[in-house]
């Protein structure tokens, strides 16, 4: 068995037993990156020398008797997290030259626990997208293919992280989920992706897209691995005013909790007539698995769920239009000179931002502009309150909700690019959880007829990621999803 075939927890056990060293483990993954990244373009920056250095240090520390939740384990970091001394681009030309002089709280937490970073992963520019097609550093190709060998998208915006974990180029990765950007790519690439409760992970040092919707979270190959990663990433941060002062539970232990007696809600509004039959079938299958494990399933109603996406496309662009105003070429980043200050701003930003980012900035600027605030932003925030109320009401009678993660499997690169709304619809099942701030986790549950992964999503109460992990672990065990993508470490061709 190759070192890249071990999921995170198994690799950790191996290191603890002394079966191999961290340097060997990290080297194996760096070799895989070298072999596969040219095709997948999952990484924008590979930090090979640093990673080897850190691996050696981890081995030395372990020899001295030290240990840590993630000591010596190779992880990849979405290029939205500022990493001190390592270029951080947010997938954008405007930040192409930016080397942060500070470390984000989440990545500092991972380092505190001994993790080794192999590189910064590709993403949709400024986290705006569901396909990783909008990156200024080229699209990411999914490690999954269909028989006609078209390049497929890994999903987005955290497409690079999802592809890297799926292709076994690292043991886990960080992502951010603003409208589904962890869960949807996890579903497309057949891995686990978790979005915790809003405020569970600090946003300090994460390049902001939409402040009230951004959620840092983990990718991994198993539910337990994702739980271990989240346990390390999470925690109160006084530098982030929206950080939740909540104790971090033992998420890994939660994976072993029984679901007997739990009530699982099935939101009826998530089913539509044009839902692909295989996704519906997988959803039903998931419910059966949970019933077999002793849970009760019951239909619930989330009447405002269908408005979630439209409301999201007011709130997120509005916040983004303001958050991205700081990219002006004056204090950092790429700059294009102009005849005067306004010209400098206009040219720097028009050239530095790609079309999707510019579009969203325009939408956001418009919906906040004089005369439109009430009709758009205020109304969308009221809808958000209604969406949260739907969930709160549902959670009075159920402990978790089960839905499909995405309305389809991965599509080909270049598809859905002609109409922005088609792309936005990828997030229809994931967005409501961002709007309400509740935790959600996607588990690979089956394949569609083209042999591509499909995920199921578990939603739970605020700060009750534990129940989500418990339910997800049961689904994972029942599904026994063990199909591997063709473009992965160690595979031939």
């Amino acid at each position: 068995m190759s070192l890249t075939d071990l999921p995170l927890s198994a690799a950790r056990d191996g290191l603890r037993r002394g079966d191999f060293t961290s340097l060997e483990l990290v080297d194996a993954h760096l070799d895989a990156i070298e072999a596969l990244n040219p095709r997948l373009n999952a990484f924008i920056t590979v930090t090979a020398d640093q990673a080897r250095d850190e691996a050696r240090k981890a081995d030395a520390a372990r020899a001295r008797g030290a240990d840590g939740a993630l000591l010596g384990l190779p992880l990849a970091i979405k290029d939205l997290f500022c990493t001190a001394g390592v270029r951080t681009t947010a997938g954008s030309k405007i930040l192409a030259p930016f080397v942060p002089p500070y470390e984000s709280t989440v990545t500092a937490n991972l380092r505190r626990d001994g993790a080794v970073f192999v590189g910064k992963t590709n993403l949709d520019e400024f986290a705006m997208g569901s396909s990783n097609m909008t990156s200024a550093f080229g699209p990411v190709t999914s490690p999954w293919t269909t028989s006609d060998n078209r390049r497929l998208v890994p999903g987005g915006s955290s497409g690079g992280s999802a592809a890297a974990v799926s292709a076994r180029l690292c043991l886990g990765a960080t992502g951010t989920d603003t409208g589904g950007s962890i869960r949807q790519p996890a579903s497309f690439t057949g891995i686990v992706g978790a979005k915790p409760t809003y405020g569970r992970c600090s946003r300090w040092g994460v390049v902001a897209f939409a402040s009230s919707l951004d959620h840092p979270g983990p990718f991994a190959r198993t539910v337990e691995d994702a739980a271990v990663l989240l346990g390390s990433m999470a925690g109160f941060d006084p530098k982030d005013s929206t950080s939740a002062d909540q104790k971090v539970p033992d998420f890994a232990a939660a994976c072993r909790q029984s679901v007997r007696g739990l009530r699982i809600g099935v939101p009826k509004e998530y089913r539509s007539d044009d839902m692909p039959p295989e996704i519906d079938a997988l959803w039903q299958q998931g419910l059966e698995w949970l019933r077999a494990a002793g849970a009760e399933t019951v239909e619930v109603s989330l009447p405002h769920t269908k408005y979630g996406l439209a409301a999201y496309y007011i709130v997120a662009p509005a916040e983004a239009s303001s958050n991205l105003a700081r990219y002006d070429g004056i204090r950092f980043g790429q700059r294009r000179d102009g005849v005067d200050l306004d010209d400098l701003y206009e040219r720097t930003r028009a050239e530095g931002f790609g079309p999707e980012v510019r579009r969203r900035i325009m939408i956001g600027t418009y919906v906040l502009s004089a005369g439109y605030y009430d009709a758009y932003y205020l109304r969308a925030q009221k809808l958000r309150a209604l969406i949260l109320k739907d969930f709160t009401d549902a959670f009075r009678s159920v402990d978790a909700l089960l839905t499909p993660t995405a309305p389809s499997a991965a599509f080909a690169q270049g598809e859905n690019m002609d109409d922005p709304i088609k792309m936005y619809l990828n997030d229809v099942f994931t967005v409501p959880a961002n709007m309400a701030g509740i935790p959600g986790i996607s588990v690979p549950a089956g394949l569609d007829k083209a042999g591509l992964p499909l995920g199921l999503q578990v939603l739970s109460r605020p700060f009750d990621e534990a129940t989500g992990f418990a339910v997800a672990a049961v689904l994972e065990s029942a599904a026994g999803f063990d199909t591997l993508p063709p473009l992965r470490a160690g595979a031939a061709g």
Binding site: G199, A310, D340, Y345, T365, A385, L386
Partner: protein, 95 residues
Amino acid sequence: MSLDPATVRRIAKLARLHLEDADVPRLQSELNGILGWIEQLNEVDVTGIEPLAGAADMAMRLRDDAITDGNMQEAVLSNAPDRAGAFYAVPKVVE
């Protein structure tokens, strides 16, 4: 709510995004498409609903008044594309 070219230009100006004349029609059409799709929100009756003040429903923590930051002139200046010693430089502004 439909945008006309003048409004598209005004918004681009507010957002400090340079817009070529040739790009206006396409952008206008894309934005109108998105805004038209968003109109569905008007179906919902939101009377009496308080807007969500961020998903986290807490009161704000306040920080002690102490000097814990700054004093790093080099670090805040070293990424600047146009730097003039201890200052950031921009094209001259006439007030």
